[in-house]
Amino acid sequence: MSGGGFPDHSDLVALALGQLDPERERAVRATAAADPAVAREIQAIEHHLELHDAIPEIDPAPGVWLAVASGIAGPTTPAPRSLLYRFRYAAAAAAILAAAFLWPHPGAGMPPAERLFGSPVRTADGGYTCASIARLRLGDGVTVTMDSGARVGLPGKDRIQLHAGRVFFEVEKRRRGLVVEAGELRIVTLGTSFLVQRDGPGLAAVAVERGRIRYERNGSGGEVGPGESYPAGAVGQADLRGWFTRPTLEANLTDPTTLRVVLRNEMPDTIELAPPTGGEPLFYAGFAGHDFGLSPHSSPLLTESVALAPGGELGMELHLPRPVPSGEPLLLSYPVLGLRVEVRR
């Protein structure tokens, strides 16, 4: 390949990155067809750029948004309109989205999606993510329920990628053969409902509720049936459906160090609330640049399991480690995995 002529190295890199306009791309490809040196150089660039797939993507920790929200809810910004407002981001976001986004937004090759619940947000690559739990029908015969922070990509009609978080898939038999990829874990559905979670590279797992799936990972594979998971025991059966049938939160601030929280079951099933294991915080609260976890120890009503009938409410008081200054906005969130919920029919 001669130096300084056409195409130069920057053209070849642009070609490999898909950045050339069609006319220039045709010209470069014609040159490559006539000159093996140019073709070899393009191949070398493509080979090199592929190497960079080894750099994984990361997802923001939930605390980043809490810190941002705490930071902007300071005295220089107008106070939120009501206390309820502060605790109902998800419902409010759903209302915004209902107005702002006209569903469906098809991903590449995937038939139109239909929002069923919550506020899924379309990502720049044509997939979906959500700030709080969301459910949508992805084309014909495929329904996904996404946990907050989950992110899926839709690279093709019969292919779904789970980039992060956990998603419950309900796939009708006529869509058998649909492939779900979670990093190195590849799942081929055989008419089934199953949960896939991905906590990071190499940390994907699948649990099957009904039907069967076939999995492949690093050259080995097998089948997983109802009540089983891969890797074995990675996902508890109680987690399978319970996690997305969770109560909504409301709050009333009765005094500067006490937060009263009402959990209301708005689902048609009785749910069982169990305290989180391992002593992790049940809620996170933040104000004026502080944020802290509130453990079950500060909410004694949830130190043991409580059954909530449909429409039932459970009130409890959370004691804050420091008083909220008068008029200071306070934000409350609860981590999705922290509150364990089991559905009982």
Partner: protein, 200 residues
């Protein structure tokens, strides 16, 4: 023919109008849309998750504070990336001005920055997991690029932004983007030559 559906860009414009009116819920939706790509931009610029999350948090605070100055003449995503990029480069400039770096040349100072960044907290994408050899080699090679080349390469290869949008984010001509990405590719390919041979 116009379908009546809003494009992503139009949705973003609508969200920005709500945000300019002080709507925090709309801001959360915007955050949800762009936290992931922006976090990864910062991560790919320093390979330090903790630092990247700090940059992400500060960028969105700046986006909120600057919301009144947004004008709907360009893409919202470009505007957000510009704010993030400006913050990143300002912080880098501050660090490089410190006496610790006074005697260091550009590349040497950057190498020091990279080493400092790599020592801070969790430099691996997954807590407890060590990066593979190939990933480590790529991180070292990318960390050795100058900031200008690195930003152009990261936006083109990892973020997959069109050159025209990279030009708007970095506020440089498209031709300069093209040449910087090409130079970065050549530099990295030379540094990763051993790895490339192993792959063949």
């Amino acid at each position: 023919m116009r379908s009546g559906r809003r494009s992503d860009a139009e949705n973003d414009q609508w969200l920005m109008a709500r945000i300019q009116a002080g709507d925090l819920e709309a801001f959360e939706v915007l955050y949800t849309r762009y936290a992931h790509p922006l976090l990864n931009f910062f991560f790919q610029m320093c390979f330090d998750r903790s630092a990247a999350e700090d940059y992400l948090q500060e960028t969105f605070l700046r986006v909120w504070r600057a919301r009144a100055s947004y004008r709907p003449i360009g893409k919202v995503s470009t505007w957000i990336f510009q704010i993030g990029k400006n913050y990143w480069f300002n912080e880098r400039a501050k660090l490089l001005r410190r006496p610790f770096h006074a005697g260091a040349g550009g590349d040497e100072a950057q190498a020091q920055w990279s080493n400092v960044a790599d020592r801070r907290g969790d430099s691996s994408p997954v807590a407890g997991a060590s990066a593979g050899e190939l990933e480590t080699a790529i991180r070292e090679a990318v960390s050795g690029l100058s900031d200008k080349l690195r930003a152009a390469f990261v936006l083109a290869r990892y973020q997959r932004l069109p050159y025209s949008e990279i030009a708007a984010v970095l506020q440089i001509p498209v031709g300069t983007v093209k040449s910087r990405v090409a130079l970065a590719e050549k530099t990295l390919r030379n540094r990763l030559a051993n790895r490339l041979e192993e792959q063949e």
